[in-house]
């Protein structure tokens, strides 16, 4: 399919693909096995300017939008979504500063993130607040010229490895969701430490860790936006980032399809390559159709977002929901097509199927995506009739 990419967009896609093929693919199984953080690969992505994709040129970035980011993470995800998630999570951590930060904050943090010298992370989830994000307990108390943070964030991607954290905490518990605020916390800030590192089913090279704030004192000017804007900032960040999860999903599905077709052409049973059996062909046909449909949706939504529409939560949720369900199905079917080989660690689809599950869970579960879409429909149709 020709998606009419500009020369620059083709350049981004080709470079990301080359890194995926030459650098990520040979490493992915080992990183998964050892649960090792992919620093060496992050360094390669940094040198290739990919961390700067979404950052404006005035802050040392490449000035791309949601679509350019999707093109890159799709290609990286085709090789390994553990590596691609690590990469994308830095962008997630940067968005709050990019959209709501002051000029000083942007000048201080964005060039470091764009160059890949520092990784970023985004921290909302807590043990008692997952889907119900408004239930967060982490408290930020204003005291003289500092905020004092107390509480524990859970399952934070890039936790421990990142230098810059966008953290959502309550500044006024009495105001509920309107009482949350967003802060920049730096690794090394007094009272900020890291807890348990999780052992996971998939994306095992990515770091998922607790952030512990124990009377963590940060200067007043680390607040992003104003007090009370925490959830607005978080929701805007997710709206912008969700098509990126869709793109990761498309990449993963494509990677699994690649493996399945190749295997089906080579594997001979009953005297024929198994791709000659219609049952296999039909599975592959469905996998390819779903993957292409997911790609078309992600590209369309990402391009739409880059026109800066006012409200795009609904389509952004769609661009995460459908592709991640597709990735789960396509990777599962790829294992089926490889049969016993697919179940073995010697073949990459085993990892792909384990990895796929996270796409339906993080950045808002797919149930929550359906809630967002459903609520938007209710609102839209309420207006018209």
């Amino acid at each position: 399919m020709d998606y009419f990419l500009t020369d620059k967009q083709k350049m981004i896609k080709n470079l990301a693909r080359r890194i995926a093929e030459e650098k990520i693919k040979p490493k992915r199984a080992e990183l998964d096995e050892k649960e090792e953080f992919p620093w060496e690969l992050m360094d390669i992505l940094a040198k290739s300017d990919l961390f700067g994709l979404i950052i404006p040129t005035e802050y040392g970035g490449f000035g791309g939008g949601c679509f350019e980011n999707c093109l890159a993470v799709e290609e990286l995800g085709r090789a390994c979504i553990g590596v691609a998630t690590t990469f994308a999570a830095s962008g997630l951590g940067a968005y709050p500063i990019l959209f709501y930060g002051t000029e000083e904050q942007k000048r201080k943090y964005l060039p470091e993130i764009a160059s890949g010298r520092k990784l970023a992370a985004f921290a909302l989830t807590e043990s008692s607040a997952g889907s119900d994000a408004a239930g967060i307990q982490t408290q930020a108390t204003s005291s003289g010229d500092v905020y004092i943070l107390n509480g524990t964030k859970q399952w934070i991607t890039n936790g421990g490895e990142a230098e810059v954290y966008s953290v959502i905490a309550m500044t006024d518990r009495t105001r509920g969701a309107r009482g949350a605020s967003a802060f920049i916390v730096e690794k090394g800030d007094p009272g900020f430490s890291f807890g348990r590192k999780e052992k996971k089913m998939g994306i095992r090279c990515s770091s998922t860790r607790e952030l512990i704030f124990d009377n963590c004192r940060i200067p007043k000017d680390r607040i992003i936006g104003r007090e009370g804007m925490g959830f607005i900032i978080a929701m805007k960040t997710f709206d912008e980032a969700r098509p990126g999860i869709g793109a990761l999903s498309v990449g993963l599905a494509q990677g699994a399809l690649d493996e399945a077709v190749r295997f089906a052409k080579e594997r001979v049973q009953f005297g024929k390559p198994i791709i000659s059996f219609q049952a296999i062909q039909h599975m592959l046909a469905d996998m390819a159709t779903l993957t292409e449909a997911a790609r078309a949706l992600v590209y369309a939504v990402a391009r739409y977002i880059d026109t800066r529409p006012r409200d795009f939560s609904k389509v952004s949720a769609m661009a995460k929901l459908f592709p991640s369900d597709v990735a789960m199905k396509v990777t599962t079917d790829a294992v089926q097509i490889l049969g016993g080989h697919g179940y073995m660690r010697d073949y990459p689809v085993e990892k792909m199927m384990r990895d796929a599950k996270i796409l339906q869970i993080y950045e808002g579960t797919n149930q929550i995506q359906r809630n967002i879409i459903g609520q938007a429909l209710n609102k839209e149709y309420g207006k018209k009739f």
Partner: protein, 265 residues
């Protein structure tokens, strides 16, 4: 630190065909790449620039499509590039190539260090680096696997040998040829690719370089390729295959047979 990197565009395969009449390579229909060793030369040049400042210029003698190789060098961090391109350069051997390259380098002007690959995968002579240094009358070290130190006036490098390495110090400006051990070449960067897409690469002809026409191309080449064949193997050897245990067992048996060791197996 101003650095010049010499790069050659070569066919992307070990199995290019040789024209039976002219004994030259048949290049048509084969994809071209930067000579693999030259990518290490580019990387080393860019790393030195990143540490000490200055400028890296890539130079190549070759047909117009060699611009692609130079553009890739730019996308990997090289600042400027020049192509020496003239029909009259065609058919050059190392004598003529080094003359032309040396003239091109004189045209670029000031430099502290020239970096070449240790050899190409098509011509394979490993003569061009040393030849250019001779032409320019500067010191050189080939097979460099590490630059230990580089200052304003001198550099200390490690030269790979069959049985270890030498540490050598030389005055600058100088020339080195580099091996694969020296670094891990980076892939292009986005900003580099954008620059490479828009940059105009100047092309110099024989006339631009004020060159002696009798010293270039086929006319200036003293060698005539009569036959191409792999060099005879160094001494006799046998390859032992199998698992590690099997290899050890076979090796012990052989050593015992030859009377080199005498232990019960």
């Amino acid at each position: 630190m101003d650095i010049i990197v010499c790069i050659k565009q070569v066919p992307d395969t070990g199995q290019v065909k040789i024209d039976p009449h002219t004994h030259t390579l048949i290049r048509e229909g084969v994809e071209s790449i930067i000579n693999p060793y030259d990518r290490y030369a580019i990387e080393e040049g860019v790393r030195i620039k990143e540490r000490y400042g200055g400028k890296v210029t890539a130079i190549s003698m070759g047909p117009p499509q060699a611009k692609e190789a130079l553009k890739e060098a730019i996308s990997c961090g090289v600042d400027e590039a020049v192509l020496l391109c003239d029909r009259a350069f065609a058919g050059a051997d190392t004598l003529a190539t080094t003359y032309t390259l040396a003239k091109g380098i004189e045209q670029i002007g000031r430099f502290d260090l020239i970096i070449c690959g240790k050899q190409t995968i098509d011509g394979d002579t490993a003569q061009v680096g040393p030849g250019v240094a001779e032409r320019l009358d500067i010191p050189y070290v080939s097979y460099v696997r590490k630059i230990e130190f580089i200052g304003n006036r001198c550099a200390r490098v490690e030269r790979m040998m069959d049985d270890g390495y030498d540490i050598l110090e030389m005055d600058l400006p100088a020339l080195i040829t580099v091996t694969k051990e020296i670094n891990e070449p980076r892939l292009p960067s986005l900003k580099g690719e954008v620059r490479a897409a828009s940059i105009e690469i100047p092309m110099y002809t024989a006339k631009d370089l004020g060159i002696d026409i009798n010293k270039i191309g086929l006319a200036g080449s003293a060698t005539e390729v009569i036959k191409i064949f792999p060099p005879p193997k160094k001494g006799q050897y046998e390859r032992i295959e199998g698992t590690l245990d099997e290899q050890v067992e076979t090796l012990l048996k052989k050593l015992k047979e030859l009377g080199i060791i005498n232990i019960p197996l």
